[in-house]
Subunit: 295 residues, 2 copies
């Protein structure tokens, strides 16, 4: 693992690392923001998954999240959106192949060899992060658009792994919209039954852990009615009794100006879940006891 | 004048306009952030001048300034950094020609025809902005690197025009550093006497208006000792008795991560100067009087 960027930011450090991913079979980059509090001990960590065409750079340069991460003492890890490199299959479309990994494990060739972003994001990357940075096991996950889909799916498929989950303008029902149909058809094949395990609106129906979902959606998002359709998640959540807070934001579009406007609220939401649990632990640790080992 | 971008951001609007500049003889773009308070009346305006290679996009996508502008009720206008277009002279270097206008009026051909960024920023653009947007005549100016030089020079050359001025990592003495020597040699010719009127460290010696200068400078800026040399401005300001607050920021580099970290403090500084004066006016307007026209 090699550090390739290191920049002071809001009293902490915005870094970028390069490493060899075993799961993906290629060199990957990911960004880590270490707030000032990281100098003093382990912190909780928020994983951010970006959308179509993005790399690890978009979120760290455009969202303005570091200010809030520094305020709340949260590490933010932002991976790339797909496997990368000349040996990795690609496609001419912006919505398939490199930059469009959809946070799933592909089963169909030629994609299945490298396209295992689900395993990367849910397992390999957290193991790497937890081994090399001052973070504990308090994890949260969020993302935008394709990455909002990723955050919801990764959290719903890994009960107990994340303390909170949120999404901006997520593709909530990829099985039913053009972006998802194209990607799932290529990565997973034509059996639509197999798609359901990668579709948040399907997963929510059988989720055993009722982790509350926080979703912000711009009312003037150019993809709202064609690709995003948050009402599909809402209907599924209502039917399943799964807690969902869907906040429509009139006037906002699909851009980083929307994310920047509300990322502070999302980080506060995650910090409450992440530190809340930490405070319970701290409370237990500081419970008065008689000091003579009678427990 | 045509609006080409319109995006909701922190309750206001991040817009981009295109217009024909008479001064520059080409089509120009500039960005305007209108905070929520712009719906209710005239606001003060902060002009932001960007650095080498930048367009009107860099600041609005990377600085995170909209949050603070919305907090303080300040409009932010960010122009491009040079004249643009196929008919406009250019150079292969990133530090001369398009993207590198240096906020001066060129006197040497082939540059003099279009390169009049000083007149554009100080006169044509404010006149356009004040005619088309809900802004009054309370103006502030700031910028980064080449744009920090621009902000200092434009303010020092226009006493009474700006209520406050600040800069991030400015080129404080362009006459004495490679970036400035190359640009001034091309735009202004080889007579170094003529360069002094475009050099903040020279202008400060004879400034009639003692407008306080606020400068933030990263201590690990890769251009600190070669191109920026803030101690030259500091020495000139001390000699002239010109108020200067130079804040060295250990660890920070020349990037937008540095700007993002401290732009909130700069906007608060400008807002205090801009609204402070406005409040004095308001106080005068609301002075009790006897209502019978005896004034």
């Amino acid at each position: 693992m090699e550090r390739i960027e290191h920049r002071a930011c809001f009293g902490g450090w915005q870094d970028v690392y390069r490493h060899e991913s075993k799961v993906l079979g290629c060199t990957m980059k990911f960004a880590v923001y270490l707030p000032p509090q990281a100098a003093n001990g382990k912190l909780p960590v928020l994983y951010w998954l970006s959308g179509l065409t993005c790399s690890e750079q978009n979120f760290i340069t455009k969202a303005g999240a570091q200010r809030y991460a520094a305020e709340h003492g949260v590490v933010i890890v932002a991976p790339d959106t797909s496997p990368r490199g000349e040996q990795v299959m690609d496609d001419d479309g912006y919505d398939l192949g490199q930059g469009a990994g959809f946070y799933l494990n592909a089963t169909e060739q030629p994609w299945a060899t490298h396209y295992r972003m689900f395993d990367y994001v849910a397992d390999e990357l957290p193991a790497l992060v937890e081994a090399h940075f001052p973070v504990g096991d308090a994890r949260a996950i969020s993302g935008h658009s394709m990455g909002g889909h990723g955050a919801l799916v990764v959290a719903l498929r890994n009960p107990g792994r994340y303390r909170s989950v949120s999404a901006f303008s997520p593709i909530v029902a990829p099985s039913k919209v053009p972006w998802g149909e194209k990607a799932f058809g290529a990565y997973l094949g034509e059996d639509r039954q197999a798609w359901k395990q990668w579709d948040a609106s399907e997963l929510v129906r059988s989720a055993t852990e009722k982790l509350p979902l926080l979703v912000d959606q711009g009312g003037d998002d150019e993809f709202l009615d064609t690709q995003l359709r948050p009402q599909l998640l809402q209907a599924a959540a209502v039917a399943a009794g799964h807690p969902l807070q869907l906040r429509m934001r009139p006037g906002y579009d699909h851009s980083y100006y929307f994310i920047a406007s509300f990322i502070g609220e999302h980080i506060a939401h995650h910090a409450a879940a992440l530190h809340g649990e930490a405070k319970v632990h701290a409370g237990v640790a500081h419970e008065p006891h008689d000091g003579c080992g009678r427990h």
